[in-house]
C-alpha cells in the first residue's frame, strides 16, 4: 500500500462532517425551517410542512409498531394523494423500501410484483380494491393491508376496504407512540448508508415479466436536486401532480418539490377539466406529464383552457413531444421543457437545454431543436451515443445511429434478484438504455427509436419517431404510431396506425401525400390503419401489438 499522502492523514469521516445523503432530509429540513408553509394541497385538505413531516413520522412509527423493519418492502397502490407523498418519506425513514405500483396494472402482474418484491405490507386506495383483492388472493401469504379512503375519491359509495385498518387510523397509532415517546423520531431514523435501498419500481415491459429497478438514497437525493435546478423550483412554486407518483417515484419530484420547500398540489384524476381547474385554483407554476397529457391539454375545448397568471413550466418526457404539440402548448400559456429518462435513471437523465440563439429561430426550427433529448443533467455524469458492439463513441454528425449510454449517480443500483440482467445493463461501465439515437454537432442527443422499434427498409434505417413526428403534423391527427411491416421486396416498410381527432375524417392517400411532402420517399408509410391505439398500463402505445397486427396484415395481403 502506498504511503498515505499528507492530505489524507488524520482526516477521517466523522459524524460532524459526514452524513448519508437522503431525500428524507429535505422534508425534515422543510419542517424545521418553513414549518407553517403550505406543503400539500388536496381538494379541501391542506397540510403545512410541519404537519407533512409529523404525519410521515407517524406513518413510520406505525409501520415499525406493526413489525416493518429495515430492508422490508412496503407496496403502495395509490393515486396522487397526500398519503402517497407521506409514504415517500415515512417508509424510507425506517429503512424500508417503497414499492409504488402502477394503478393500471392487472391483478396477475401485481401478484407477481408483490411476490417478487416480497412486500410485507401494502397501502392501497379503495378505488383499486377490486384489483388488489384479486392480487392478494393470488399470493400465498398474509400481508398487512392498509386502506386509503381519500376525501377526494368520488367513485362508488360501495367501495370495499380490504385491510383491518384505514390509513388515518393506522397513522394515529403511530401518533400515539410519538406522543408517548417524542424521542422515538430519532430511533425511527434508520438511514445509515446513502447506498441503502430506497424504493423499488417495476419497468412496464411490454412483454415478459417486469424487472424491478432498485433506487438508493444518494441517487434520489441528487436527482431531486437536479430537478429542482433544471425546472427552477423555488419557495413560491406550486407544483401540480399530473405525473403519476408511481412513475419513477414521480421522477423524484416527490422529493424535489419538498427540497425547494414549495407546494405540492395533488390531483386524483388526470383529466383536462380537473387540471385546468387546479391550475386556476392553486395558481400552479410547474407540472410534469407524458406527451399524452400535453396532447390532452392542447386539444381540450377552448372553454375549459384556463390560463395561469404567468407561463406554467411543464416538463415532459418518456417520448419526444411532437413539435406540433409544443407549439399548441405555447399558444395556451405553457413553457415546455423536454426531459428524457427511464425507470432505470430515476426518471429524468437528460434535458433539452435551450441555447441562447434558439429564441431567434422560427417556430419550426425551434420545435425541431426542442424535441431532441438534449444533454445530461447536472447531477448525472454523462450521456453519450455509443456503438454498442465495440463501445466506441459515435461521431457527433447527427447521422451515425448508436445506443444511448448513461453513467452517473442517478442510475439505479440494479434489477432486484436479477444479477444477470443487471450485469448486462451495466456492461462496459455504462447503463445501456436500449434507445437508439444520434448525437448532433452541438452534442445534443436525439433518440431515433427503441432498439427493437427501428425499421430497416432496403438496408436503410427508418426512425419510427421521425415518421410519427410527420404524422402528428397532419392537422387531423390525434395520435399516431408507426411499426415495421414485413415486406418481400424491402424487408420491412413503415406501417402507420392513426387515431383521428373527434369528428375528423381522412383517407390513406391524404395521409401518404402529406407525409411525402415532409419525408424522404423510403420513409413514407406504405399502409395506414385508422382506429384507436392499444396502450400499456402506463399509457404507452403497445407497439408489439401493432407489430403483430402489421405482420398479420402483410401475411393476409400476400396470400
Amino acid at each position: 500500500m502506498a504511503e498515505q499522502n499528507l492530505f489524507e492523514k488524520d482526516l477521517p469521516k466523522v459524524p460532524a462532517n459526514y452524513v448519508p445523503l437522503t431525500p428524507v432530509s429535505f422534508l425534515q429540513r422543510a419542517a424545521s425551517v418553513r414549518p407553517n408553509h403550505t406543503a400539500v394541497i388536496h381538494g379541501n385538505r391542506r397540510y403545512t410542512y410541519s404537519e407533512f413531516w409529523a404525519r410521515s413520522c407517524q406513518l413510520a412509527a406505525a409501520l415499525r409498531e406493526h413489525g416493518i423493519q429495515k430492508g422490508d418492502c412496503v407496496a403502495a397502490m395509490c393515486s396522487n394523494t397526500p398519503e402517497m407523498l407521506e409514504l415517500h418519506n415515512g417508509v424510507p425513514l425506517i429503512g424500508a423500501v417503497l414499492n409504488s405500483l402502477n394503478v393500471r396494472l392487472d391483478s396477475d402482474t401485481i401478484a407477481f410484483i408483490l411476490d417478487h418484491g416480497e412486500a410485507k405490507a401494502i397501502v392501497t386506495d379503495v378505488e383499486f380494491s377490486p384489483t388488489i383483492k384479486e392480487a392478494l388472493a393470488k399470493i400465498d401469504r398474509d400481508i398487512l393491508v392498509i386502506d386509503i379512503v381519500d376525501s377526494e375519491f368520488s367513485g362508488s359509495s360501495q367501495f370495499e376496504k380490504l385491510g383491518k385498518t384505514d390509513y388515518e387510523s393506522f397513522i394515529s397509532t403511530g401518533g400515539d407512540a410519538l406522543r408517548r415517546e417524542p424521542e422515538l423520531i430519532n430511533t425511527l431514523w434508520s438511514i445509515d448508508d446513502e447506498w441503502q435501498s430506497l424504493s423499488l419500481l417495476y419497468t412496464s415491459g411490454t412483454t415478459g415479466n417486469p424487472k424491478g429497478c432498485v433506487y438508493h438514497h444518494r441517487g434520489a437525493y441528487l436527482n431531486a436536486l437536479g430537478n429542482l435546478i433544471t425546472m427552477q423550483l423555488g419557495l413560491d412554486s406550486r407544483y401540480l401532480w399530473t405525473l403519476p407518483m408511481f412513475h419513477c417515484d414521480g421522477w423524484t419530484f416527490t422529493w424535489g418539490v419538498t427540497a425547494a420547500m414549495a407546494t405540492h398540489v395533488c390531483l386524483r384524476k388526470v383529466e383536462a377539466q380537473a387540471i385546468f381547474d387546479s391550475i386556476e385554483a392553486a395558481d400552479v407554476t410547474h407540472m410534469c406529464g407524458a406527451p399524452i397529457v400535453l396532447n390532452m391539454l392542447a386539444n381540450a375545448p377552448a372553454a375549459i383552457q384556463k390560463r395561469s397568471s404567468s407561463p406554467i413550466e411543464i416538463a415532459t418526457g418518456g417520448a419526444a413531444p411532437p413539435s406540433a404539440v409544443i407549439e399548441s402548448m405555447e399558444a395556451i400559456g405553457f413553457n415546455v421543457t423536454h426531459l428524457y429518462g427511464l425507470t432505470e435513471t430515476y426518471g429524468p437523465a437528460t434535458v433539452c437545454l435551450p441555447q441562447q440563439d434558439w429564441p431567434d429561430l422560427d417556430i419550426n426550427s425551434r420545435s425541431g431543436r426542442m424535441s431532441r433529448q438534449g444533454v445530461h443533467y447536472l447531477t448525472l455524469q454523462d450521456a453519450q451515443i455509443y456503438n454498442a458492439a465495440d463501445m466506441a463513441n459515435s461521431p457527433n454528425d447527427g447521422e451515425s445511429l448508436g445506443e444511448l449510454m448513461i453513467r452517473g449517480n442517478t442510475v439505479m443500483k440494479g434489477y432486484l434478484k436479477n444479477a444477470s440482467a443487471t450485469d448486462e445493463a451495466f456492461a462496459g461501465g455504462w447503463f445501456h438504455s436500449g434507445d437508439l439515437g444520434v448525437q448532433h454537432d452541438d452534442g445534443y442527443i436525439e433518440i431515433k427509436d427503441r432498439a427493437k422499434d427501428i425499421i430497416i427498409s432496403g438496408g436503410e434505417n427508418i426512425s419510427t419517431l421521425e415518421v410519427e413526428e410527420a404524422l402528428y403534423r397532419f392537422p387531423k391527427t390525434l395520435e399516431a404510431a408507426v411499426v415495421a411491416q414485413p415486406d418481400e421486396r424491402w424487408g420491412e416498410t413503415p406501417c402507420a396506425f392513426v387515431t383521428l381527432k373527434e369528428g375528423e375524417t381522412a383517407t390513406t392517400e391524404e395521409i401518404i401525400e402529406f407525409c411525402k411532402s415532409r419525408l424522404a420517399g423510403f420513409k413514407v408509410p406504405r399502409h395506414v390503419v385508422f382506429g384507436p391505439l392499444p396502450k400499456t398500463s402506463t399509457g404507452k402505445i403497445q407497439k408489439f401489438a401493432l407489430r403483430e397486427e402489421a405482420k398479420q396484415r402483410a401475411a393476409e395481403a400476400s396470400t
Copy 2:
C-alpha cells in the same frame, strides 16, 4: 455479520451507477453542454465555457508535466482574475490540492503556510511579488513559481516576475501536450474518491499560527449546489466577484456559478467606483461580500451609485450586517441575503431565509429578522445552539446563550497536521463554531458574539454585536466595535471604538445618550474612543488589539 437483506444483495456500486462527486464535473459539463456561452468576463477578456475548460485542462497538463502529482499542494496568491478560476479546476483535476492565500498576509505568515502546507508550486500575481519574494526567501527549498501578469493590473510598470515562466507561457506548454495527445484529458483526471482533498485554506486567526482547513470534493460539490439553489443562480445570471476567491474558495461560488452555467464577472479591486462600473457594464445580477463591502456601497457618493436594470441579489456574511446597512442597500437597488459560515464550513452554512410574513413587517422589525443568521443550508445536515458543557440542545427561547454547533457534509475534513485541534473541533459529533448565540421560537439562530468576545458585566452577558448594532444606528457612524474593558465594580463594562463618517463630528456624551435610547442601561458603553479601527488581513476588526487598548486605558484610569 447479519444476513444481507434482499435489497442489498447483488446490487453493488459499479462505474455505471457510481462516480465520485466533484465540483470539477460542473465545468466539464458546462463546456460540453453550453460551450459557447460567456463563462468569464475580465476587463476586455472574454472566455467561453469551452475556453475556460480548455485553459483549465492546459493548466492541469502543464502542472503534471512539471511534476505536480496527486496529493501535492499548489499555492495561489491571486486577485479575482480568470487564472484563479482556472486554478480552482485545473489543480483538483489532477488530484492536487489548491491552497489559496489571502493576498493581504505578510511574508512571515505566507512562509509559515507554504512550509506547513508543503506547497510544491505557487502561482502568484505580480502585484504581490514583493511579499512573495520575501516569503520564498524565508523557506529553505525551491518551488515552482509561475507569475500572473494580468491584463487588468494597473500597478507599477516596474513589477518583478519571480519565476522562470509566466502563466500564459506555462499553460501553453500544457496546450502543446494536449494537442499532441488529446486523450491526455482522460489520463489527467485523478479524482477517484469524493473524500479526496480538494483545497487547503488557512483560518485568519487573530492570534497564533493559522490553522489549515482541508476541503474535500464531496463537500465543495454540495455547497456549490447549496449556493446555486439559495441564491437562485440560473442560466442568465451574471455574478460579480466582489468576494475574494481566496475566502473559502469564494464560499464555493467559484464552482457554484459554473454549476449554474452562468457568467463570472471578475474584478481585481473591490472599490465602489469599480464595482458600480462593473454592475453597469455587465448588467450584474448576483454578488457576495462582507458587510464592509455593503457598507462601502451604501456610503458611496450618490454620483457613482449606478443601478442595475433589476434588483441585484447580494449575499453577505461573516458578521451580521447592521440593519441600517440592509436598509441603505435596499434603497439603492440591492436585495440582501444574510448568510453565515466559517472557513471550516466552506463558507455559507446557514441562510436567513425570508418567511412569508416578513414583507408585511415594518422595516425595523424586518431588518431585525434579516440580521439573524437563520437556518441551515439545504445541503447541510443541521445547525443548532447547544450548551457546550453538556451538549444539550438549548431551548428556542431567544435568550438561552449557547454555542452554535454544525453538522453535515459541508464541514471540512479537519485541520491539516493537527489531529488534536480537529478532534476538539468535532467533539461530540458536531463542529463547534466558537460562536455564541440563541435560537428563537421559529428556530432561527442569532449569533450574539464570538465566545471570546462576550462581555460579562455584573454577572450579565452583554453581546458586543448588539451594542455595535446600536452604534451603527447612530447616523454619523461609519464603523464601530465594542470590547470588554476591565472594571473594578462590574468585572467588565463595554468600551466602544467608533470611526465617524468623513466630515462628521460627535462627542462621547452624544453617543452614550443615543445608546441609552436603544439599549438596557447595563449594555450602554461607558467609554467611547474615536478613530480608525485596526483590521486583520481579511478586513476583520482586530478585537484583540482593541481589548488590549481598553485594558490599558482602564489601568491608566485607575492609577
